[in-house]
């Protein structure tokens, strides 16, 4: 009979099963390492647990609305979920945190994490992004360049399945693409108008992790546009539909759900992390698991909070925090609420099926001397979607037979555009632990302090004006924008809290996502990001994870960890 330590000992532990944790699980298990994945939430079995996926609108008692009671439990998450997918979002009432200033921390505590509900937009970072900090002096320099990551982007894209078009843009590198999801009539009209009226910008097909073709072992997108309920056809990429399945099939995976990580345990003698202490979410019992390699993939805010709570003699300020950067430099993308307009024309055109994709206007500011903007550094991209009005959006008059006739037919074309801008790394934007206030597991509450800087706000204003200008030039009417921008965190792209860098004095991780201070701890979720770019970041997390796993496996096999 094995003793408890032996039973609880693995080659590697991965904390978190979301988009980056799933990749770590796949790569490490396929690399031959016995791997334990710790997930704080419940299990979500692919297909079987997508309980709302095939429900028709009339099968929901309150349609997509949340009840008052559900809203009271979810004052924060409710802006991002509805009756169809609310079970993939936490109840804020059960998982409180402290907002120094308004900051939305949108979370999904379950196997698969937020990979079940992500927006699926997948864009590569470019050389421009990796050089940005060095060039304009904000933050610290990335320890890698585009060429370090290129083959890993290729590798993950091939596996994930990204529908997109090749455009030969140096600042938005092409990738390994499935056929793009085509543009509808109004989107094409806007694309042509933008090409005609602007020399500096263009519209491309959004790059999205939905399968436009069958992929082995998966399915293909059925164009239902209900992705966030989980896809019974495996039409989009999630940990549940792919990476965790492959990890399981390797025979090397152990997955423990309901495992709230309390701390990473550091050994003063070997100067390594030796394991992870968890609290069972249900029984509240503590257990320690041991491994030679630890990957933290709990998402930017949670990973930083685990590090800060892992206090030892060598690391009184949190594990691997000799730089005092852990928890700092929190970034999200700056988003505007959106710009919209309607179009009189193309009324003989329609579409069949519901696209899960978007159109995309890649960054067009501060690319070179010709596009220099004096109000801000870096830039933003704009995502958009065109459709014809239906009963939800069509203005109607009166009632009776006349109203019915108005509802029955498609309305005008409309387009909505929304910017996503790069937020600069700023030490003052941070998460910390409030030791006086604790959650139901006795863990200190996370306190978030985040404010947009002047650069971020200047960009927000620019993206709104540019979006309006683009629609007006294309002949749209009723063009307007929602002037209130949503609170930070709304893009659900939080990152930067344990950044990569060359210098251990100013960064937490090295160029292989390995802690400078503790070389058998790797962090490959959003925490590692040295700058935020303006691209949706999940693809970059996945590429960095695969690359770090290769390095870790080689180090493990040559006994260097």
């Amino acid at each position: 009979m094995k003793n408890q330590t032996e039973i609880n000992t693995f080659d590697a532990i991965v904390v978190g099963s979301g988009i980056s944790g799933g990749w770590a699980a796949k790569e490490l298990t396929e690399g031959g390492l016995k791997t334990l994945v710790l997930e704080r939430g419940r299990n979500v079995e692919h297909i079987k647990d997508y309980t709302t996926a095939l429900k028709a609108p009339w099968e929901f008692k309150h349609r997509t609305h949340l009840t008052k009671e559900e809203l009271e439990e979810r004052p924060i998450q409710s802006s991002h979920c509805n009756a169809g997918d609310k079970h993939f979002y936490v109840k804020d009432s059960e998982h409180p945190y402290i907002q120094d200033k308004p900051f939305k921390w949108i979370r999904g505590y379950q196997v698969g994490g937020r990979s079940l509900t992500w927006g699926r937009q997948s864009y590569r970072f470019s050389e421009l992004d990796f050089e940005a900090n060095k060039k304009d002096g904000h933050g610290v320099d990335w320890p890698i360049r585009y060429n370090d990551l290129k083959e890993w982007y290729d590798y993950v894209e091939e596996y994930v399945g990204i529908s997109g078009s090749s455009e030969s843009l140096p600042h938005l590198p092409d990738g390994v693409f499935l056929p793009a999801i085509p543009m509808n009539a109004i989107e094409k009209h806007l694309k042509e108008s933008v090409s005609k009226h602007y020399s500096d910008r263009l519209i491309i097909n959004g790059r999205v992790a939905n399968l436009s073709e069958y992929k082995e072992g998966r399915g293909k997108c059925m164009f239902r546009n209900l992705c966030s309920r989980g896809c019974p056809f495996s039409g989009y990429f999630s940990s549940n539909s792919t990476t965790l399945v492959d990890a399981y099939n390797s025979g090397n995976l152990t997955l423990r759900e309901h495992s709230v990580v309390k701390e990473v345990i550091y050994d003063e003698e070997t100067k390594k992390a030796v394991g992870v202490k968890i609290i069972d979410a249900i029984s509240k019992e503590e257990t320690t698991y041991y491994a030679k390699i630890i990957f933290l993939n709990a998402s930017a805010i949670a990973t930083a909070s685990i590090l800060l709570n892992s206090v030892s003699k060598s690391f009184p300020n949190g594990l691997g925090n000799s730089s005092l950067q852990v928890g700092h430099n929190l970034m999200d993308h700056v988003v505007n609420e959106g710009t919209y307009g309607t179009y009189d024309g193309l009324l003989d055109k329609y579409y069949e099926g519901r696209s899960p994709g978007t159109i995309y206007i890649p960054r067009f500011q501060n690319l070179n001397t010709k596009t220099t903007n004096t109000d801000f550094v870096r830039g933003y991209g704009i995502q958009g979607k065109g459709e014809r009005e239906n009963w939800e959006s069509k203005p109607t008059e009166g009632f009776g037979v006349a109203l019915k006739a108005q509802l029955e037919t498609p309305g005008k074309w409309k387009i909505s555009l929304g910017g996503r801008g790069e937020v600069l790394p700023n030490y003052e934007n941070k998460i910390s632990l409030d030791l006086q206030n604790r959650d139901q597991w006795g863990l200190p509450l996370v306190k978030v302090h985040f404010e947009y800087g002047s650069n971020d706000l200047a960009m927000m204003e620019h993206m709104t004006k540019a979006s309006e200008d683009i629609l007006i030039k294309a002949g749209f009417e009723n063009v307007g924008s929602y002037r209130n921008s949503p609170p930070p965190g709304s893009a659900v792209h939080e990152m930067g809290t344990a950044r990569m860098g060359n210098d251990p004095k100013t960064s937490v991780l090295n160029k292989y996502n390995q802690m400078h201070d503790v070389n058998n701890v790797f962090i490959t979720d959003g925490s590692c990001m040295t700058s935020s770019g303006c691209q949706n970041p999940s693809l970059t997390y996945m590429a960095l994870t695969a690359r770090a796993c290769r390095y870790a496996i080689n180090q493990f096999k040559s006994n260097q960890l």
Binding site: R63, P182, N225, Y350, R354, F399, V401, E408, T409, G411
Partner: protein, 188 residues
């Protein structure tokens, strides 16, 4: 004697009563909720005037009245619940005063007249209406009409008979040419 402990003991004994009592006070104020089931017949007739049966089913057959009650009871704000409930009682008063009948027993012409009067007092698209709705909640007719439209277009009968509903499109044809009598898609 430990005073705090004694109070704690009393609270514990009467715990259930106190909890529910303060719950009502704290979260719902003087709540009118729970009354709409008494207006089921009235709502059935109202929704059927707003979306009447033609060659396709009307809102009453699609059970939109039940959706409206479910939504208003569970999802609406206190302001809008009160606006809606007051709107229903005002409407019955209007019918009794003008036609000596409940709305349900009015002639179709009378029903239309009553709703036309409410509709002409309401322009949901005007700036004033939008500001007013933010402050005081949407008006009775605004709530009634938008819930009827939503409830009907998301009902099985509305989505599949008046509109076109395809649960699994399979493919995406990004550009098609409108067919004669093209119906709008029920979902986005």
């Amino acid at each position: 004697m430990n005073r705090r402990k004694a109070i704690g003991g009393i609270l514990a004994i009467t715990g259930i009563g106190i909890a529910s009592y303060s719950g009502v006070n704290l979260f719902h104020g003087k709540s009118n909720r729970g009354q709409l089931k008494n207006y089921l017949n009235l709502l059935s007739e109202l929704v059927d005037v707003i979306i009447p049966p033609t060659e396709t089913p009307g809102a009453k057959e699609a059970k939109v009245q039940n959706y409206i009650i479910d939504f208003m009871e569970s999802c609406s704000s206190k302001k809008e619940y009160n606006n809606f409930l007051n709107g229903l009682t005002d409407l019955q008063d209007t019918c009794l005063n003008n036609y000596d009948n409940n709305f349900e027993d009015c002639t179709m012409n009378q029903k239309v007249e009553v709703l036309e009067n409410l509709d002409s007092n309401y322009d949901s698209n005007s700036l004033f209406a939008k500001i007013d709705a933010k402050i005081r909640g949407r008006s009775f007719f605004n709530i009634l009409k938008s819930l009827t439209v939503e409830g009907y277009c998301t009902s099985e009968l509305g989505a599949t008979k008046l509109l076109a509903y395809v649960p699994v499109p399979f493919n995406y044809k990004a550009i098609t040419t409108i067919e004669p009598n093209q119906k709008a898609w029920a979902t986005r």
